[in-house]
Subunit: 201 residues, 2 copies
């Protein structure tokens, strides 16, 4: 069986998976699911992922795996994109949990409602509050990147992939990255890595 | 140096760390930070954790580590609480990312504003919306646990610890667990594990 990726082209979470697979030269098939009309999610993903989210992959042995950063880890482990040192591995996880808790729920969500969705945000999504939360996440990254080239261990890892995915398209959601020079230099550094494909690839 | 844990007694995220350290018999010192008055966070945690969150640990070699589930992974790796099989390890991460993205931001946040905080929730926190999101997370767990004893690999792992932390205190936030029999049986199973300490320990 070929690796199968349920995904959406505009999703940064899905881009993370496309990017690690491109870097590793792994072939796969794509199945596109809408991020706007989710009415087919139970039918397509019900047996694969209790959260019904994309990305979901079905590995070449038929077993499913979900959550973008868990998929990144699975493919990167044993490669140059995930350190072997146990403290550095824990730091990679620290940044990936930061991404899913502090960064994505603000920056990706604002981008979605500003640039992608066809409706107004539902109750419970306050765009201005999320914009402030997004800038707090960007500030935390800026402080960290002011003293180093990459997020962990001074080399390009899946921590950088996880945070690059939605940071580099944050301006689509109206986030001005001008106040974050170290972060912008890091974005350029990641984009210049050999084998990095764009989100549109 | 002794392992140092910056934490708060009511925080489920901090309880995860206390629980794995108790299971492994690791000694540590606690430093309590308030989850209500956060005015000392920059001073105490500024050099240790860009997110200024608890739990933050300082390892016995002086290096800091943050994000509860990254700390769980760091201590559990190489022990019985984290499988060696690469697919099972990825599944542990899948559930831990589910916890931080779908479960904690709903269930822990409702509990905080209902049972712990001394003020009303700020703009952007809609308790009723979060309550619905919390039940969606509990339903996903119920579906999964209806067919198995533990979240991953049919044994007790840090995926169970990560999700037990806020699930077992969800009723403090007004979540009725009556509709989730498989989840309730799993809560009992986790609580009965040798060495499990209560959140108040």
């Amino acid at each position: 069986m070929t690796l199968l990726l349920y995904e959406n082209p505009v999703s940064g979470n899905c881009y993370k998976v496309r990017l690690i697979l491109a870097l590793l030269g792994v072939e796969y098939e794509r199945r596109e699911l809408s991020v706007v009309d989710r009415s087919d999610r139970v039918q397509v993903l019900g047996g694969l992922n209790p959260s019904l989210t994309v990305p979901t992959v079905v590995l070449d042995d038929g077993r499913p795996l979900a959550e973008s950063n868990a998929i990144l880890w699975h493919f990167a482990d044993g490669t140059e994109y995930l350190p072997r040192d146990s403290y550095e591995r824990a730091q990679v996880l620290q940044w990936m949990f930061f991404e899913q808790y502090r960064h994505e729920p603000a920056i990706a969500v604002v981008r979605f409602w500003v640039a992608i969705a066809e409706d107004d945000p539902p109750p419970g999504v306050d765009i201005e509050v999320k914009r402030e939360e997004g800038h707090a996440a960007l500030k935390a990254m800026e402080r960290h990147l002011g003293e180093r080239e990459y997020l962990v261990g001074e080399r390009f890892t899946i921590a950088d992939i996880a945070l690059y995915a939605y940071t580099h398209v944050a301006p689509e959601g109206g986030f001005d990255l001008e106040p974050y020079p170290a972060l912008r230099a890091w974005l350029d550094r990641v984009a210049a890595q050999p084998g990095v494909v764009p989100i549109t690839a």
